[in-house]
Amino acid sequence: MAINLKKLSAKQDLLAGGHAACAGCTGPTVIRQALLAAETPVVCGCATGCMEVTTTLYPFTSWRTPFIHSAFENSAATMSGVETAFRALRRKGRVPDREIGFIAFGGDGGTYDIGLQSLSGMLERGHKMLYICYDNEAYMNTGIQRSSATPKGAETTTAQAGSVKAGKDQNRKDLTAIVIAHNPAYVAQAVPSLPNDFMTKVQEALKADGPSFINVLAPCHRGWRCKPDTGIEIAQLAVETCFWPLFKWERPGRLTITYKPKEKRPVAEWIKLQGRFKHLEEPRNRHIIDELQAEVDRKWNELLAMEAATQAAQSKAG
């Protein structure tokens, strides 16, 4: 069950190199880790976005698994069709009787925003598949526009920082909480900087008896305005500051925080590494950093309370 890196290093990467993602992009890292973790053959889908356009440039494909892209807002719906076809054809003996995993990928735009309905429908219907959101906190493929995953104060090309504006006005949407509200089989947050944690979650998700969802923070150095070789470091700092807590939630309602920073670092440290927050250093914008910190604290405390409550409820029930 536990991830054995030595064994994994002998496995073939199911996402071939040579794709067109930017050097230093953490998206392909997320996909490769997920595919390496899978213990059965998988069929993958991806929403329109950076990961789709860079991995399937006709006549080439990086996918060594069966793969389908159909559009932007419907990765979950498309893959729910694939998964349903599998159940139907397996029952009728028209495909070999063996387990196949189904993984739908989508960026935050394709998941939090335009694909939210499709995701919600898939979760509610209970398809046995894993949805992985690689969350780079903006619409990167079309040029770094604001999404509902963009943090408050971050500058994007549609929510700019200027003489009267300071980037995005609103806090980010807590999509993971929205997913949990559907009561699916398994939900988690992860980062590519802690592959053991992420890959264990992928394995648990694929084994779960129903729909599962993993939200993975995937820094984009173009959009976050940081150095190309700092994506992994910044992902890790998002965890150490509790901006991006790592946890898993298992049906019927047990939340486990899978990584607790020894010392919770201030969110300002995370912000400092990213050019998209540069304007927050100006005195007139400094209050936004405090507001961001307050939001991080609120969520983290909520999570700690939820962990305590659900674990207590479970042990009582057990």
Binding site: W63, H69, N74, T84, A85, A88
Partner: protein
């Protein structure tokens, strides 16, 4: 062999779908398509068909799930009307360009706005360039027969295109008519198994569907789609013939009524053709050599066949149940007119029945008289004539 029973168009199509043994169906409600899915769900609930239904949260997801299911290797259908198809719009093109043989009854309903639930052809006409085969039906029997044939046409290796079965909302979908059904086993044999060459579930032979296709190759792939559509007429005809041998009801691209010596000809689609036959008989009694050309396929559009069918006409009128704003005459008018390009026969446009406005025998008879008069006066061109419209 055939039993005659009373069925609505929706029930007839549902039976045809059941007998075609689809693996997966994606369903979302919209009037007047709903009863088709109710009937089909009843078959599923009673074990009369072994189909997995995906009860999606929107039509966009219905077509998306159908695309995933069809690409996975399952025989797949969905059904819709008007706004439902409008919401699928993006995915209609993707289904066709992915060469997925999805079958979809499209129960014709006026497209909003204003919102209206009754029949016209504005919904399917807007999708004429989406790359789907579009077959129109005159009655419940044709809805049944066409649905069965649709799977054969769509899944033919020379075609591999999705097929839309268009039948008029309420007029066909909700009207009981006698329908001759084939035996389940006969249909099962006729339709056969769906065995696609490439499927997502073949995990040992991974295949990428829906890649990014830039200027280097996109055009060639569109060409392949064009060629598939070019090959479709022969397959539509062959399947119609084979179906005829089985059922006694042969289907061709078009059907003429009293066309042998016809000089004043109307071209129309769908249920109105039944009404127009009566009108032909009425005006023939007053000496007008009237005829009707009923088209079955709107896509692929049979230009050469239309030209030869209309070669003896003195004047042609075209009945459109939809409009194209900013140009006189609807989509059918323009296709018929370009089919006759280079000839001297006047082709005159009519628009009728928008939003479910009734069309009566006498109104069509009057259209024949108008056409006859126009031909006598040497009218070559005029603005569209609206039938049954109040003077504002």
């Amino acid at each position: 062999m055939s039993k005659l029973i009373s069925l609505t168009g929706n029930d007839a199509a549902a039976h045809a779908l059941r007998q075609s043994r689809p693996d997966v169906a994606a369903a979302y409600p919209i009037t007047p398509q709903t009863e088709l899915m109710h009937k089909f769900a009843e078959f599923v609930a009673n074990g009369q068909v072994d189909t997995d239904m995906i009860l999606v949260e929107s039509e966009h997801s219905a077509m998306s799930a159908a695309i995933g299911s069809s690409a996975a290797g399952a025989r797949t259908f969905t059904a819709t009307s008007a706004n439902g198809m409008a919401l699928m719009w993006e995915m209609l093109y993707i289904a066709a360009s992915s060469r997925l043989p999805i079958v979809m009854p499209e129960v014709n309903r006026a497209l909003s706005g204003p919102i209206n639930i009754h029949c016209d052809h504005s919904d399917t006409m807007g999708a004429r360039d989406a790359g789907w085969i579009q077959l129109f039906c005159e009655n419940s029997q044709e809805a049944y027969d066409t649905t069965i044939q649709a799977f054969r046409i769509a899944e033919h290796p020379d075609v591999l295109l999705p097929v839309m079965i268009c039948y008029d909302g309420f007029i066909i979908s909700h009207t009981n008519e006698p329908v001759a059904m084939l035996d389940d086993a006969v249909v099962a044999k006729f339709v056969g198994e769906y065995t696609p060459a490439r499927k997502l579930l073949d995990v040992d032979n991974p295949y990428t569907f829906g890649p990014l296709d830039l200027p280097e190759w996109y055009f060639e792939h569109k060409r392949q789609q064009i060629e598939a559509m070019r090959k479709a007429p022969a397959i539509i005809e062959a399947v119609g013939k084979e179906f005829g041998a089985l059922s006694g009801r042969t289907y061709e691209f078009m059907e003429g009524y009293r066309m042998e010596d016809a000089e004043v000809v109307l071209v129309a689609l769908g249920s109105t053709c039944g009404t127009a036959r009566e009108a032909v008989d009425v005006v023939r009694e007053s000496g007008i050599k009237a005829g009707l050309l009923k088209l079955r396929a709107f896509r692929p559009f049979p230009i050469a066949r239309v030209r030869s069918a209309l070669s003896k006409a003195r004047v042609v009128g075209v009945f459109d149940r939809s409009v194209s704003f900013g140009i006189e005459g609807g989509p059918l008018y323009h296709e018929v007119r370009s089919s006759l390009y280079g000839g001297t026969t006047p082709v005159l446009p009519f628009v009728y029945g928008l939003g479910g406005r009734d069309i009566r025998v006498e109104q069509i008879a009057q259209a024949y008289r108008t056409l006859d008069e126009a031909a006598k006066r040497g009218v070559k061109e005029r603005d569209v004539e609206f039938i049954g419209l109040r003077d504002a």
